[in-house]
């Protein structure tokens, strides 16, 4: 049987950072974002209320200002901070563990996906895949809740991406998530 898409690439440090950032986005739940926004709003609101009640001390004004700033950072920039932090750690991890990153080949067939590196080979039927997450830069294929393989889109043409997307949509349905879609 011939594969309809075959992709080979060597993982670069930015590929790895993109993968980790996408995995973090995939794991972030809506309720977590909502709770952080509520806390941020509460901090801003309470800083204004406290300032209204007692703004005669410079120290207290500074404290209320810090509270308001913390609220704005949490409410508006939480995801950005998490993404930055995840990417930094991923880049550091890559720089310290370069020997772990090898060239890999993934091939898509009608009934399975194969992965191959110098030390690993697998043929995974679509029904055995736990879920797939796609964002603007990577496809992440989960073989369990904490085990995943990724394919960077920079190694794929738009046509290949579309073919992969179609097969995931037909074979995986609910298990296939795209960034922004829940």
């Amino acid at each position: 049987m011939q594969s309809f898409v075959s992709v080979s690439s060597l993982v670069t440090r930015f590929d790895y950072a993109d993968f980790k950032a996408a995995a973090a986005k995939s794991e972030m739940k809506k309720i977590e974002k909502d709770i952080v926004k509520i806390i941020g709003t509460a901090l801003i609101f309470s800083s204004f209320v406290l300032w209204g009640l007692n703004h005669y001390s410079i120290t207290r004004n500074i404290i209320y200002g810090v509270m308001a700033a913390a609220g704005i950072i949490l409410g508006c920039f939480y995801e950005m901070i998490i993404q930055y932090s995840v990417r930094r750690r991923a880049l550091n991890y890559y720089d310290n563990h370069k020997e772990r990153f090898m060239a890999h080949t993934a091939q898509f067939f009608e009934d399975k996906i194969t992965f191959k590196t110098e030390r690993y080979s697998a043929a995974v039927p679509y029904e055995k895949i736990y879920k797939v997450y796609e964002d603007g830069r990577v496809f992440i294929i989960y073989t369990s809740i904490n085990e995943m393989k990724f394919i960077t889109k920079r190694a794929l043409s738009n046509n290949d991406c579309e073919k992969i997307r179609k097969v995931f949509q037909s074979k995986l349905q609910q298990k296939y998530q795209q960034e922004g879609a829940r």
Binding site: R100, R119, S121, V124
Partner: protein, 188 residues
């Protein structure tokens, strides 16, 4: 593949891990990451903090009228000790059970070939080659050999269930030679 110089397999093991075996081995793997990862150390630290807080209450009382802040801190320390000793181990095992249940590869029969410098793990869908130098630690207990820190999969579990004493002895000796200071034997 193992090189020519490695010779034949030292031992070949066929196994199918159960959920219970996986969760137990996972928990063992987690607890050997560092001393801080054991429940005794974390609980001990919390209880030490609680004792320290109790001992400082008379000093606190000499400066302040009420003592509700040290009592709150004491309650937090005791609750944390309770959490680390009783609740967190169960959470870790629940997480391990989730990993096992969602994985296509952990619950199916696998064959493990142990060579001088490497190991090959095969099942119906995949084949993995790992070198002993890839692993961070090897822990032997009464029921398992647990190897942590692998390149392709973080945990390699070899269950003693189904092995005879000679096989266990051979594998144990091989791991203690290969891992040296990274090898530990636990009594449980």
């Amino acid at each position: 593949m193992p090189t020519f110089y490695e010779g034949g397999a030292i031992e070949e093991v066929s196994q199918t891990l159960s959920e219970n075996e996986y969760t137990q081995a996972f928990y063992i793997g987690q607890s050997v990451i560092s001393p801080m990862h054991t429940k005794w150390v974390k609980t001990g630290i919390c209880l030490s903090m609680a004792i320290l807080i109790i001992s400082l209450i008379p000093l606190y009382k000499s400066y302040f009228i009420t003592v509700w802040i040290p009592f709150c801190a004491l309650a937090v320390a005791v609750l944390l000790a309770f959490y680390f000793f009783f609740i967190q181990p169960k959470d870790i095992k629940k997480w391990a059970a989730q990993i096992y249940c969602t994985s296509a590869f952990l619950s199916i029969p696998q064959k493990i070939e142990i060579y001088r410098d490497s190991v090959i793990i095969k099942n119906e869908y995949e084949e993995i080659l790992e070198y002993w130098t890839d692993f961070a630690k090897c822990v032997e207990t009464n029921s398992f050999f647990v190897l942590t820190g692998g390149r392709e999969r973080d945990l390699l579990i070899i269950t003693k269930n189904g092995m005879n004493a000679t096989q266990i002895e051979r594998i144990s000796k091989h791991f203690s030679n290969e891992f040296a200071l990274r090898y530990m034997k636990k009594k449980r």
